[in-house]
C-alpha cells in the first residue's frame, strides 16, 4: 500500500460517513417535531427547561439518560411520582429525603418555577424515544413480571410490587425506597380491600397523601394481586 492509497482510504471513509451522517441529521430535524410533540412545547415548558439548567439539575440527574448518574433519571418522572411528588421533593428536599442516605439540595425555587419544571418534565415524558427507560416502560416491566412469576415462582402480587415501581418509595425487609413508609407490617392494620382502595386513589382516603394514584399504572388484576400480597404482610 502506498501513501497515496492510504490517503484515498482516508478520504473515502470520511466523506461517505459524513454524507450519511449529514443526511440523517437533515431527516432527523424533519421528524423531530412529530417525535417530540413540538406543538406542546409551550413557553412554560421552555421556562422549565431554563430552571432545570439554571440549577444544574442535570449534573446529578439524567434526563433521556444523559447527565450524571447520582440521582434518578427524570425522563418519566411525572409518570413515576406524579406532579405533587415532584413539587414536594423540590420544595422540601430536607423532609422528602430525611430518611434517605442520599440527599438532594434545597434550590429555593418559587412556586412558579416549580410549575414550569413540572411542565417541562411532563413534556419530556411524552417524547417518543423507543420506550426508554426500561424501569418505567409498561411493556418491558410486564415481561419482567411474567418472567418472575414463571421462573422464580414468586407470587404475582410480589412481582407487581417489585416491578411496578412501588419500591421506588416503599421498602420490604429493609430493601427499597425511604420516601414512603416501610410496608413490612401493613397487613396488620389494613385489609386487602382497604389497601386496594388506597392504592387506586390515595387522596380519596387521606387528602394529605403524597402517593400518586396507581389507577393508570396498574391493571385491575395487578391491583388486586398487589393488595392481597401486602395484606399478608403482618
Amino acid at each position: 500500500m502506498t501513501k497515496k492509497t492510504a490517503f484515498r482510504i482516508f478520504l473515502i471513509g470520511t466523506l461517505s460517513s459524513a454524507a450519511l451522517f449529514l443526511w440523517a441529521t437533515y431527516d432527523t430535524q424533519r421528524q423531530v417535531a412529530t417525535l417530540s410533540h413540538v406543538d406542546k412545547l409551550s413557553d412554560e415548558v421552555v421556562a422549565g427547561k431554563r430552571v432545570f439548567e439554571r440549577h444544574n439539575c442535570n449534573d446529578c440527574h439524567t434526563i433521556l439518560g444523559f447527565g450524571a448518574y447520582y440521582a434518578p433519571d427524570l425522563t418519566r418522572v411525572v409518570q413515576r411520582v406524579g406532579d405533587d411528588g415532584i413539587r414536594f421533593r423540590v420544595k422540601h428536599p430536607e423532609q422528602a429525603f430525611a430518611n434517605s442516605w442520599r440527599k438532594m439540595p434545597q434550590q429555593n425555587l418559587s412556586d412558579r418555577e416549580i410549575s414550569d419544571l413540572v411542565a417541562f418534565f411532563t413534556w419530556v415524558g411524552e417524547v417518543n424515544n423507543n420506550d426508554w427507560p426500561p424501569q418505567d416502560s409498561r411493556k418491558r416491566i410486564s415481561r419482567g413480571e411474567q418472567m418472575m412469576v414463571a421462573k422464580v415462582g414468586v407470587s404475582p402480587g410480589a412481582a407487581v410490587f417489585q416491578t411496578k415501581g412501588c419500591m421506588n418509595c416503599h421498602s420490604l425487609n429493609g430493601t427499597g425506597g425511604t420516601f414512603g413508609p416501610a410496608l413490612d407490617k401493613i397487613g396488620a392494620s389494613l385489609s386487602a380491600e382497604e389497601i386496594g382502595k388506597y392504592v387506586r386513589n390515595p387522596k380519596g382516603v387521606n387528602p394529605k397523601a403524597m402517593m400518586p394514584s396507581q389507577k393508570d399504572n396498574l391493571s385491575e388484576r395487578e391491583l388486586e394481586e398487589v393488595a392481597r400480597f401486602l395484606a399478608n404482610m403482618k
Binding site: P134, G144, S171
Partner: protein, 443 residues
C-alpha cells in the same frame, strides 16, 4: 528541543498538571458521595452537581492545555520554523487559565449553563471561542508561513479546527430538549471520537516517529488509514447516542453498525504501535516514555475499544444507558486515550525542554503503574456497579435507590482505589515538574 519557541509548551504542560491533581480530588469527593451520606447542610452549599461540573471541566481544561502545549511543541519541528508569535501563545495560555479559574469559582456560586460537560456559561464561553481562534491563528500562521506540509501537521491542524468548530454547537440555547441533546453530542461525541482522536493520532505519530526512528512515510501512511477509519466509524457512530432521545428509529441501525466497527481503528493503532516499537531504529533511551506510548495504545484499546463496544449495541444499551456502565467506560477511555497520551507527550517533551537527555525515571515508573493499575481496577468496580444497576433498577424494576444500595459497596471500593490513583497522580505530577537527569553509577 530544536527551536526556542518550543519552550512555550513547557508552561502549558506545567499549568495542566496541577489541574489534573485538582480533578482527582473532586473525583474522590464524588465517589465519597456515592458511598457515604453527605449531610443536608453540606449538600445545600456544595452539591454533588457542582463538584461534578468541576471534575469534568477540569478534565477538559487540562487535556486541552496538554493538546495545545503538544501542538506548540510539535509544530516547530514539523515545519522547521519558529512559532508565529510566542507572545500570542503566552497570552492565550493566560487567557485560558483565567477563563478556567473564573468558571470554576463561578460553578461554586451557581453560575452555570447547566448543560453537563458544557457548563461554562455565556459570555464566558464566547471567550473560550476567542481563545481557540487565537490559538488556531497562531498555529495556522506558523504552518502557512513555513509552507512545509506533512500529514502529521495537516491532521493536527484539521483536528484542532474541527474541535473549535464543534464547540460552537454547544453555545446556543435550544428550546427543544431533544434537539439540544442531538447537538450536544456533536460537541461531546465528535470531540472524543473525532477531533480529539485526530489530534492524538497525529501527536502519537509524531512521538512514535521521533522515539522509534521508523521512517515518516511508513508512520504517516498508517496515520491516514487510522484517521480514515476513526472518522468513518466515528462520524456515523454518533448514532449510538441517538437511540433513546426521541430521534428516528433508523439511528438504532446506523449507531449499532458503525459503532460496532469503532474498535477497528484503535486495534490498528495498537498493532501499528507494537510494530513500530519492534522495528525501532533508535535505541531505547528513556524507557518510561516508551512504556507510556505502549501503555497508551493498550489502555486506549481496552477503555475505548472494548469497553465502548460492550454496551454500544442497542439491545444492551437499552439496559445500560445512563448507568455506571457509562461511567466505567468514560473513566477507562479518557484515561487510556487522552490522559496517558498527554502524559506521554509530557514525558517526551518536558525533559528535552530542560536540556535533559536521559532522565531518572524511578519515581515516574511508580506513578505510571499506580495510576494505570488503579484505573483498571476502578473501571472494574464502576463496571460491577453498573451491571448491578442495570439489572436491579432496569431489568427487575426495583427502583433507583434500591439499586444504589446494592452498588454502594462497589462505589466504596472505587473511592478507596481512587486514593491509590491520587497517589499515582501526585507521584507522576511531582516527578514531571521536578524531573532530574539520570545519575550513572561511577564505574
Amino acid at each position: 528541543m530544536e527551536y526556542r519557541s518550543q519552550k512555550v509548551a513547557y508552561w502549558y504542560f506545567a499549568a495542566a498538571l496541577p489541574l489534573f491533581v485538582l480533578q482527582i480530588f473532586l473525583g474522590l469527593y464524588l465517589a465519597f458521595s456515592y458511598t457515604f451520606t453527605v449531610p443536608q447542610s453540606v449538600v445545600d452549599v456544595f452539591p454533588f452537581a457542582t463538584a461534578r461540573a468541576m471534575h469534568t471541566n477540569l478534565l477538559v481544561l487540562w487535556m486541552l492545555l496538554g493538546f495545545m502545549g503538544g501542538t506548540y511543541y510539535i509544530v516547530p519541528e514539523e515545519t522547521n520554523s519558529e512559532i508565529f508569535s510566542v507572545k500570542l501563545a503566552y497570552l492565550q495560555l493566560i487567557a485560558l487559565l483565567a477563563i478556567g479559574v473564573i468558571a470554576l469559582v463561578g460553578f461554586f456560586f451557581g453560575w452555570t449553563k447547566g448543560r453537563p460537560l458544557l457548563e461554562i456559561p455565556p459570555p464566558l464561553n464566547y471567550f473560550v471561542v476567542v481563545g481557540a481562534l487565537i490559538f488556531l491563528f497562531n498555529v495556522g500562521m506558523t504552518m502557512i508561513k513555513a509552507n512545509r506540509w506533512t500529514a502529521t501537521q495537516g491532521t493536527l491542524l484539521g483536528g484542532l479546527v474541527f474541535l473549535a468548530v464543534l464547540y460552537l454547537f454547544g453555545v446556543p440555547f435550544y428550546r427543544n430538549e431533544v434537539t439540544d441533546w442531538y447537538y450536544w453530542w456533536w460537541v461531546i461525541h465528535l470531540w472524543v471520537e473525532g477531533a480529539w482522536e485526530l489530534i492524538t493520532a497525529s501527536i502519537f505519530a509524531f512521538v512514535l516517529m521521533k522515539l522509534t526512528g521508523v521512517e515518516r512515510v511508513v508512520v504517516e501512511k498508517w496515520l491516514y488509514v487510522e484517521i480514515g477509519l476513526f472518522l468513518f466509524t466515528g462520524l456515523a457512530g454518533t448514532g449510538h447516542h441517538y437511540y433513546w432521545i426521541g430521534a428516528p428509529r433508523y439511528w438504532l441501525w446506523i449507531g449499532g453498525i458503525f459503532s460496532a466497527l469503532e474498535p477497528l481503528p484503535i486495534i490498528l493503532m495498537l498493532v501499528d504501535t507494537m510494530n513500530h516499537v519492534k522495528e525501532r531504529k533508535n535505541p531505547i533511551v528513556n524507557r518510561l516514555t516508551w512504556t507510556y506510548a505502549v501503555g497508551c495504545a493498550v489502555m486506549h484499546f481496552i477503555g475505548a475499544g472494548i469497553w465502548g463496544f460492550l454496551h454500544t449495541l442497542p439491545q444492551i444499551n437499552y439496559y445500560t444507558h445512563g448507568s455506571q456502565v457509562t461511567a466505567s467506560h468514560g473513566h477507562l477511555a479518557f484515561f487510556g486515550a487522552y490522559a496517558l497520551l498527554n502524559l506521554m507527550t509530557f514525558y517526551y517533551a518536558m525533559p528535552k525542554m530542560k536540556g535533559i537527555v536521559e532522565y531518572d525515571d524511578t519515581r515516574g515508573k511508580y506513578g505510571f503503574w499506580m495510576m494505570t493499575c488503579a484505573m483498571m481496577l476502578m473501571g472494574l468496580t464502576f463496571g460491577v456497579a453498573g451491571v448491578l444497576q442495570s439489572y436491579v433498577e432496569r431489568v427487575l424494576g426495583m427502583g433507583f435507590m434500591t439499586a444504589q444500595s446494592y452498588m454502594r459497596l462497589w462505589m466504596g471500593a472505587t473511592f478507596f482505589i481512587g486514593i491509590i490513583f491520587l497517589a499515582g497522580v501526585l507521584t507522576t505530577v511531582t516527578d514531571l515538574l521536578t524531573i532530574r537527569p539520570k545519575v550513572r553509577a561511577q564505574a
